[in-house]
């Protein structure tokens, strides 16, 4: 199994017993995965997962500003309908039902995969449009490695990180630390075209990640801990008077897993503990927090051409929020079963999965799925997923006072995702990869907070129909000294309100707000001996800001470029990298009236010591 670790030019072979296989092997046949390259992760390592996804151009990141709240919209779904999975655990807040991706540092994951299409069978509530999988894959046989990195960017942005790791044949352990401060008084254009500085936008954050993995004869033990603290000032929008608001976020994420293999049987026990705190400062401090405890047991049987998996999970969440009508403690039990079959004669693999959850004793919709993967002609693969997906109401939807409704039903619906991939000749210098994909997603009982006579309340009222296509083309050229990769992506997404609340018929059949119909990106990466360079161009289409589609934000196109030089002296490696973001100095907004920076620069220096070559 090949994996791209943080160093783009190193590939290390890992054992068959894959420890944190985000793709779950045969049970996820039919899913279209889009893996971000190690180089992309490395380029954004001084920043957040939000920036990493935004610069990839592969999906729309709804960002309120650099360092500010950022959520993703996958395949026409909203932020509540995309799951964020860390090493197989959902980390979104049970109170909000979403994750702020600006708070996830890109340097804490060495694998970032976009999973297209909802798969509530795998991940439960919330995986409707798709998921973002973040993984920390252990790198065995890597010896001792020490890495220190510093990135300085415009507007007093300083990022420092260090990573100490050790990988032998059977043990892998690493400790990563990072800290970042940014004054973030970036330049943007005001209403009159003058370049002005953003105010009240500084932030600082620091974090620690410990990854540990031990292989014994038949067992694999895994333990990861992620601790983080952030302090952000929240800037005003362009139409507000000013802002003194700030927000502190703390997260403690711990996970442990034990996997035991014997012959064709595999047992796995996993536990995760996720704790987050939020203090919002406006007039006075407003605190909220949640804790989620996840436990899972899996049994897998892998035979020559068929595999079976049965899993049982328990999620227990508690939350503290002064506006809640009660302090909730919620327990959810889930059972999952999967049957995967390889039909080698016709080169077709399929997996049939089903999941049933009970939240506080009440059953949520049964979510079956069918995934098919077929190889045909010489280098073509066709993938198809049909699944039923659902999204539970969040704690805010149910307990917020006033307006929350504890009897809200989950949103649910069916989704289909199909993709055809072609990979060019395996042994030639030039390789081509083409993907054409299409999807169709229907969700009903979508929760909407609607105004009433006295206050707003949450109701199951909307139906949304999302559909679209995606085309992606990659050309890779590799010689002994030069490697070039050209990539182009285009996606078209139509997400419309099939049903609206009464009195809101102007939104009927209109495009959902902040969901661009068109998105595209083109990029070029080159590596020649010790040099690397590249550029990318990301285009985000027009998006509507009002549900009747009368208000909109124009399309914007952003260009980035980078260049770097690497020097190897025995066991030491020095790397210097410079990059420019928004090269064409465009004034743009992702969310209306929330400024985004004009051109910014960044310089990064990295020193790495490796005991093994």
């Amino acid at each position: 199994m090949h994996v791209h670790a943080q160093q783009a030019d190193t590939t290390l072979l890992l054992k068959e017993v894959q420890v944190t296989d985000l793709r779950m092997g045969p049970f996820t046949k039919g899913i279209a995965f889009d893996t971000l390259s190690g180089l992309q992760i490395d380029l954004n390592s001084g920043s957040s997962v939000a920036d990493l996804l935004a610069t990839s151009g592969k999906l729309f990141v709804k960002s309120y500003g650099p360092g500010s709240l950022s959520t993703v919209s996958l395949n026409g779904s909203n932020a509540y309908q995309t799951s964020i999975i860390w090493n197989g655990f959902k980390i979104e807040s049970p109170m909000l039902g979403q994750t702020d991706l600006a708070l996830l540092p890109a340097c804490f994951a060495n694998q970032v995969i976009i999973q297209h299409g909802g798969r509530s069978d795998l991940w439960g509530s919330g995986s409707v449009g798709g998921s973002i999988l973040l993984g920390n894959l252990p790198v065995f046989n890597s010896g001792f490695k020490t890495m220190v990195r510093s990135t300085v960017s415009s507007f007093e942005d300083q990022f420092y990180s260090s990573r100490f790791s050790y990988g032998s044949k059977k043990i892998f352990s690493s400790l990563s630390l990072f800290s970042r401060y940014s004054k973030n008084d970036f330049l943007y254009h005001d209403f009159f075209g003058n370049a002005v500085h953003q105010e009240n936008s500084s932030f600082k954050e620091k974090g620690l990640l410990s990854e540990n993995c031990v292989l014994t004869g038949k067992s694999t033990l895994l333990f990861n801990a992620w601790l983080q603290k952030s302090d952000r000032r929240i800037p005003p929008s362009m139409t507000e008077a000013g802002s003194q608001t700030s927000q502190q976020d703390g997260a403690q994420r711990l996970m442990a897993a034990w996997k035991y293999s014997s012959g064709s049987w595999q047992t796995e026990l996993r536990s995760g503990f996720f704790n987050e705190q939020l203090i919002f400062m406006l007039a006075g401090p407003d605190s909220s927090s949640f804790s989620t405890f996840i436990n899972e047991a899996r049994v897998k049987l892998v035979k020559s051409s068929s595999s079976f998996l049965v899993a049982i999970q328990d999620f227990y969440s508690t939350a503290e929020e002064s506006f809640y009508s009660k302090s909730p403690g919620e327990n959810t039990i889930a059972v999952f079963g999967s049957y995967a079959q390889q039909l080698k004669k016709i080169k077709l693999d399929f997996s049939l999965n089903v999941r049933q959850e009970w939240r506080e004793g009440t059953a949520t919709p049964l979510t079956p799925s069918l995934g098919i993967e077929k190889k045909f002609l010489k280098n073509f693969i066709a993938r198809l997923t049909v699944s039923r997906n659902f999204r539970n109401p969040t704690m805010n939807d149910r307990y917020w006072n006033p307006g929350g409704n504890p009897f809200l039903k989950p949103e649910s619906g069916w989704g289909t995702y199909a993709a055809v991939e072609h990979t060019g000749p395996a042994n030639s210098k030039i390789r081509f990869g083409t993907t054409i994909a299409a999807f169709d997603n229907r969700i009903s009982n979508q929760i909407l907070w609607t105004p009433g006579a006295e206050y707003w309340s949450a109701v199951n009222i909307l139906s949304v129909h999302s559909r679209g296509v995606r085309i992606s083309e990659t050309v890779d050229l590799k010689t002994s000294t030069l490697s070039v990769s050209v990539n182009g992506t285009y996606s078209y997404m139509k997400a419309t309100n099939a049903k609206t609340a009464t009195g809101q018929s102007d939104a009927l059949n209109k495009q959902v707000i902040y969901t661009p119909e068109h998105m595209g990106a083109a990029s070029l990466h080159m590596e020649y001996q010790n040099w690397k360079a590249g550029c990318s161009y990301v285009l985000t289409g027009e998006r509507y800001t009002t549900s009747d589609n009368l208000g909109s934000l124009p399309y914007h196109a952003l260009g980035d470029a980078f260049a770097g030089y690497k020097l190897k002296i025995r066991k030491l490696e020095f790397e210097l990298e410079g990059s420019v973001k928004n090269i064409f100095n465009k004034n743009y907004q992702v969310v209306q009236y929330r400024p985004m920076p004009l051109r910014t620069y960044s310089l990064s220096a990295k020193i790495q010591f490796q005991s093994k070559q």
Partner: protein, 363 residues
């Protein structure tokens, strides 16, 4: 050949990006339209980071123009346009969350000056061509009346007058300002709210407080010179034991006391009051319906005239029609719906996002 096809596929993606995009036109037109006769509608705009707007309805042509502030000036008014007031040939656009008043010429709506240094301003009233009053909520604990200089836009004086200082009306030498409770019309503070503040315009000072019902939010004057105040009552979501019903209270502006109280059997923070062109018939919105009552009535009407809820309510003395606003989902364009005094539906026209208040320019 295959290689060429493959390579061009990569570029096709890039080409598709451009062919599918539409460029947005951005022009500022200086219209020769005259805004000095008609109806101004203030639209709050979306709550988070949007801008409020002003719509203009022309009574003779039955045409409505949207977003006239941005159209004439090229920049948005700001976050949450609470109200618009016309005085001395100028329009005063009170932008609550941008904490300023944009002052424009009424005729062409071109920007003149900003009145700043405000803290959550709500309503404006011109007193003399040199002086105006602004009610503001401040930090929420105490509302203020700001006396502002209309020549240079500066604050002359600030007076604490009660929690959630809101709509005002002038009667003779005094200005009567409602204190509607502000950010939390949940609690009853007999000193700071639930009273009308009486301001003496000669000295710009707080003359007295008149105790009315809980959380007074709207005020009109009838043909007899009496003032009618609509009071929201108390709605405590955390502790319904604290709830108190609202009321319609009549105030005598010469004796400076409340002389008649009509108790409602309900409480809600969004009640509205308006009065007809002869100042004899009072219209008020409560419990999701609009009621009509004469100034000489001894009791509240039992039947409504319009069985429909509105966000804002007003009465145009020129066309003699009731104006209600429908904010739809509070995230897209709302509507103004017009009715006869009998409650018969006349027509409706589109407005901006969350239309809330009106200014009916006399003809």
């Amino acid at each position: 050949m295959r290689k060429m096809v493959r390579l061009s596929a990569a570029f096709i993606c890039v080409l598709l990006l451009f062919s599918s995009c539409k460029k947005k036109d951005d022009e500022v037109i200086t219209n020769v339209i005259d805004f000095s006769e008609g109806v101004l509608i203030s639209n709050e705009g979306p709550f988070s980071a949007g801008t409020g707007t002003i719509s203009f309805y022309n009574r003779s042509t039955n045409e409505v123009m949207q977003d006239i502030f941005q159209l004439q000036n090229g920049f948005p008014a700001g976050n949450i346009v609470q109200s618009v007031e016309v005085y001395d040939g100028k329009a005063f656009v009170v932008v609550n969350n941008a904490e300023k008043i944009q002052v424009v010429n009424l005729q062409d709506f071109m920007y003149r000056q900003t009145i700043g240094s405000l803290s959550q301003p709500r309503y404006f009233m011109g007193i003399t061509p040199q002086k105006g009053y602004v009610t503001q909520w401040g930090d929420g604990s105490q509302g203020q009346l700001k006396v502002v200089d209309l020549l240079n836009g500066n604050t002359i004086k600030t007076i604490d007058i009660g929690k959630g200082s809101d709509r005002m009306i002038r009667s003779g030498r005094f200005v009567f300002a409602c204190n509607a409770g502000g950010f939390d019309p949940f609690t009853f503070d007999p000193v700071n709210d639930s009273a009308i503040a009486v301001i003496d315009t000669y000295g710009d000072s707080l003359y007295r407080r008149i105790q009315v019902g809980y959380n007074p939010g709207g005020i009109v004057e009838d043909m007899f010179g009496k003032l009618w105040v609509i009071c929201y009552g108390i709605t405590d979501y955390n502790n319904p034991g604290n709830d108190r019903n609202g009321a319609l209270v009549r105030v005598d502006p010469s004796l400076l006391i409340a002389d008649y109280i009509f108790q409602f059997n309900t409480h809600e923070p969004g009640m509205r009051i308006a009065i007809n062109e002869t100042k004899y018939t009072i219209f008020y919105k409560v419990s999701g319906a609009v009621f009509s009552m004469n100034a000489t009535s001894q009791s509240l009407p039992s039947n409504n005239i319009i069985a429909r809820d509105f966000y804002g309510l007003g009465f145009d003395p020129v066309s003699q029609l009731i104006y209600g606003t429908n904010a739809t989902d509070f995230n897209s364009s709302g509507y103004v719906v017009r009715y006869e005094k009998t409650g018969a539906l006349v027509d409706s026209f589109p407005a901006g996002i969350i239309p809330g208040n009106f200014y009916f320019i006399p003809e």
